[in-house]
């Protein structure tokens, strides 16, 4: 019996040894030859949206940021580094699409030493605590360098799309390190502003009736990553300011448990919920349900500076 069993296991290992490189090769060929619509589970999106590639390149070259912004697209579309500069603050915006606390933690490990901020403003949108993080993983794997934290995304997500994209990204970064190294500053209606902010051409939001409020369930792994990052920042004596950026009233109303989330954030540190602090107009100050337009960003940033630094 043991002879057959060991033969079986040997053959299995042999096949695995054959299958892994062949699979990788197939992913590379597919990624190079087929357009996105024909390769559903390979989502290598370098420079696709949010200017993550440019931002990460700039983050690597920036030192002593003063204030560092962290969080999802609410961050890179919500904190205009030029407004802060006018008020005498040196800042860097390290937001990325759908960035969850797990991804924030990885970015802190990658860039905190270089950026060396005195203050971190972390935009804590409740939904980022509920996400599995696949979108953020794909964004960072495609647009940032890959290290052990990329493997961590894979373990965290257990998603074939993340695996395929990581395999393809490793290939591209290794074989074609200079491929697609320049991202256009202006893409569609978005313009990248040095320092990490992405400015959207002036647009207004058409009001939509709010959906029914639903109870949100936060992922324990995201809460753990959030708490660990806070501990790490506190250990370095960095002032951490937790901020909930304004969203449209319609969207805000879909959260059934503001109080519970606010309590969690208050218990975690210095926290400001600008949905309560400010009264913005859904149509005039947003370009979609999530994101502020020029006017909204300017109002929000000035209010934040006043509330946090000038009071």
């Amino acid at each position: 019996m043991h002879k057959e069993l060991s033969h079986f296991l040997r053959r299995l290992l042999l096949f695995a040894g054959f299958a892994l490189p062949v699979y990788w090769l197939c992913i590379v060929v597919t990624g190079e030859l087929l357009p996105q619509r024909y390769r559903e589970n390979l989502s290598y999106l370098r420079g696709a949206y949010g200017h993550t590639f440019t931002r990460m390149q700039e983050a690597g070259a920036t030192h002593d940021a003063g204030i560092l912004f962290l969080g999802s697209s609410h961050t890179y579309r919500g904190f205009d580094t030029r407004i802060f500069a006018k008020h005498g603050f040196k800042t860097f915006n390290l937001g990325s699409s759908s960035q969850t606390p797990i991804h924030t933690r990885a970015l802190l490990y990658r860039y905190l030493d270089g950026l060396n901020p005195d203050v971190v403003i972390w935009e804590v949108y409740p939904e980022t605590f509920m996400l599995d993080g696949v979108e953020a993983s794909l964004d960072l794997i495609s647009n940032d360098h890959n290290d052990r934290y990329s493997a961590g995304f894979l373990l965290q997500n257990s998603n074939i799309k993340v695996l395929n994209t990581l395999l393809f990204s490793i290939y591209r970064n290794t074989i074609w390190p200079r491929y697609n190294q320049k991202e256009q500053g202006k893409k569609g209606m978005d313009t990248y502003i040095p320092g990490g902010y992405v400015e959207r051409d002036m647009a207004c939001f058409r009001y939509e009736a709010p959906e029914k409020p639903v109870e949100k369930v936060y992922k324990p792994s995201q809460i753990r990553a959030f708490q660990k990052s806070l501990a790490m920042l506190q250990k370095r004596h960095i002032r951490v300011i937790l901020v909930q950026a304004p969203v449209t009233r319609g969207l805000y109303a879909t959260f059934a448990s503001h109080q519970a989330f606010d309590s969690l954030m208050h218990a975690s540190g210095e926290y400001y919920n600008f949905n309560d602090i400010m009264q913005l107009d859904d149509s005039l100050h947003f370009f979609d349900a999530h994101h502020l337009n020029h006017e909204g960003v300017a109002l929000f940033n000035r209010t934040l500076i006043k509330e946090v630094f000038e009071k």
Binding site: L5, R11, F18, A19, Y23, C26, E40, N41, I160
Partner: protein
Amino acid sequence: MLFNSIDFAVFLPIVFVLYWFVTQGRLRLQNLLIVAASYLFYGWWDWRFLSLILFSTLVDYTVGLALKDVENQRKRKLWLLASIFVNLGLLGFFKYYNFFAENFAAAFSFFGSPIKTGSLHIILPVGISFYTFQTMSYTIDVYRRKLEPTRDFIAFTAYVSFFPQLVAGPIERAANLLPQFYRKREFSYAIAAEGMRQILWGLFKKVVIADNAADFANLIFNHSDQYPGSVLFLGGVFFAFQIYCDFSGYSDIAIGTARLFGFELMRNFAFPYFSRDIAEFWRRWHISLSTWFRDYVYIPLGGSHGSAWIRIRNTFIIFVVSGFWHGANWTFVAWGALNALYFLPLLLTRRNRMHLDIIGHGRVLPPLKETLKMLLTFTLTVIAWIFFRAENMGHAISILREIGSASLFTLPGGHHFAGTSLDPGVMFLLLGLFILAEWLGRSRPFALSHFAAHRWWGFRWFAYMMIIVLIGLFAQTTESPFIYFQF
């Protein structure tokens, strides 16, 4: 625990290693490990319902022993009825209580005497229809003296809860599976390798074909009022592939997994869409359930013997009960009744056992006449699947009405499938590849064994790699449960 989950990918190798290396081939220890693994596998979903499996196991174990000791026929019958009452009682409560309560209320309201019946928020325990039928087969076979009752409680518990087939079959007969728990298991390279191949093929069917077809079928059925007849018919075709690949995929993974542990489970599907009439389809579809109903319901009712009326009655009973087994909804009953209507002409003209061979055996393509018969049979099953998939009878009838209209001749376009994650062209290509593989392998236990039979290892490994790459590129990324978990 789902077969298509990371949890199972970790669970299976651990149990495999413990089973073959740690137990050192000691039978009782292996059976005990199977019980523990099976309870963990089931409890992963909801541990509270483990008590139901244990209760069912205890009842049938006790009844089995009582049937051995009691000679009096009346008392034997009472013991059997007790077992059936408990098993069907559990099934009836968890699966059918709300259905009957609501329909009684509706019937009384219809006759002008409205009554109030309370509906309960009952969670349907996964796999209850499967393991209930499996334990009942044991008691009935012991009652019929076709099987010696077991005194080995661990072996019996392992038989009832055997994790590869616990939640969605194949519904094993005690006479086939139980004795395998008494026999010393020898690891066989050939059997285990075949098991791995079957797991791979089942996984491909589930995560690539079924889950993607489900995406298309759900889009069409959920917005059926917006589509012409041609697209609605395509929706039925997508559902036909979804349910086949989902369920037969599960069976393949179950059979393959059992093989890794030295067990041989019965075949559950034999390329049903290559059938030339409905009778052949039913010999090839969900074989373990069809034969269960045949042996324990149809034959005791008289089977195909007796007058034409008796045969008609028996056929309707078997199909309607089979439909109702799937769920507490009139759509399942209609699906069963429609299949009975398809089957009856064959039965009454005694042409129901015409096609016992494999279509186009030894040929690349089947003769034209057989091809047309096969297409007609497939069309009939698609029409029946529309009842199975529809939300209610009104929904099914509205879809069929649209299919029966002139819009059946509207050419479907890409815009009809906007919102699916996979490009329609890729979906049709995958379906085409799948049908080709199934056709080539139709004389084998499962399609991939056709490619595995090739002499050159390079060709075999190429075939496996193709499947792995297709899984990697086109598998749905969310773990979706198997359809038959709800039955």
